[in-house]
């Protein structure tokens, strides 16, 4: 049986195609599904083995980035998605998808609330960042040890939670990626290494079980080495980029 991942989109989603190409090239069928089709009951989340919420500006990011899609998912399909996650199926939210996961409460999970709010620079910013990979149970980052480099492109990526929640998340190993200095240690809030002012340099988090993962950086834009800003310096244009492993892990986990 072929495994299938749902790439959900809403008006304004714009990274669905390249995201589908990444997971699709790993032997998993990627179907881009308009959220309207889910709302109309033509398609169900339960038909799929995994879910990706790709980047973009869903519903124009009006109200707040990811809020409208997040609340639709929460209020219309909350139970279904909680079940999806409880079944151990992987959910990946990239950039706007991370914002959606936070707005709909799947992240940080446990009923806790987070926010991805306006960058401290108060503007949209596109740059490659160094990421420190934290110890976690995240199934998407298995085998990632050393720091990696991925691009961010967002205006609202400053992750905020209450202090109590931050502690719980830390204790539950839910911090997955932190913005880092070139040498590898966490950025300590320094700009531009931490491009948005996220608390504790948080760039990506997972739920407690590790199968729901949201991150501001774009792994699909780092799938091959030739997407890296300094690929011309070395001689390995053809090799995999730092984002590849995240999709590879998702595919392997689905096939487990």
């Amino acid at each position: 049986m072929a495994y299938k991942v749902c790439i959900i989109r809403a008006p304004g989603t714009n990274c669905d195609r390249e995201t589908a190409l990444c997971i699709g090239s790993l032997g998993i069928e990627a179907e881009v599904v308009h959220v309207k089709r889910i709302m109309d009951g033509q398609t169900h989340f339960s038909d799929f083995d995994g879910l990706i919420i790709p980047g973009g500006f869903s519903f124009g990011d009006h109200v707040r980035a990811g809020a409208l899609l997040g609340k639709i998912l929460k209020e219309r399909f909350g139970d279904e998605l909680v079940q999806f996650s409880a079944d151990g199926k992987p959910i990946l939210g990239i950039c706007n998808g991370f914002q959606v996961l936070v707005e709909c409460g799947l992240l940080p999970g446990r009923g806790a609330l987070g926010a991805l709010t306006t960058n401290l620079s108060s503007h949209f910013e596109c740059r490659w960042v160094d990421l420190k990979v934290e110890e976690s149970d995240c199934i998407f980052t298995r085998g990632l040890r050393r720091g990696i480099r991925l691009p961010v492109a967002h205006g609202e990526g400053r992750f905020l939670v209450t202090e109590g929640e931050l502690q719980e998340m830390t204790e539950a190993n839910q911090l997955v990626f932190r913005y880092a200095l070139e040498k590898g240690e966490a950025a300590g809030g320094s700009y531009p290494e931490n491009p948005n002012g996220s608390v504790e340099d948080i760039a990506g988090i997972c739920n407690k079980a590790g199968n729901v993962f949201g991150l501001m950086p774009h792994p699909e834009r780092a799938f091959y080495r030739f997407m890296h800003p300094r690929w011309t310096k070395s001689d390995d244009a053809d090799s995999w980029g730092d984002g590849y492993k995240i999709f590879k892990n998702m595919a392997e986990y689905i096939r487990r």
């Binding site: 926010a115 620079s121 939670v161």
Partner: protein
């Protein structure tokens, strides 16, 4: 019934838009500006009670981690 909903950053959450507007205004020579806060305003019309509008804020318009809301009726 017409309601005005104002969404602003919670105290303690840095209002970067307000801050950058402040510095922008100062650059333009408005030296007496001390503080700028940015907020988003929705005008909502319909047969709605204050409670309805509160619920809108709680369910969609404001994120309680980072945002406060205030509601006033527009006469």
């Amino acid at each position: 019934m017409k309601w005005e909903v104002r969404i602003s950053y919670k105290k303690g959450v840095l209002d970067s838009e307000g801050e950058s507007t402040l510095s922008g205004l100062k650059t333009l020579g408005f030296n007496n500006v001390d503080n700028v806060k940015a907020a988003k305003v929705y005008l909502i019309e319909g047969n709605l009670t204050r409670r309805d509008v509160e619920e809108m804020c709680e369910r969609l318009l404001a994120n309680p981690v980072s945002q406060d809301y205030s509601i006033s009726e527009v006469k």
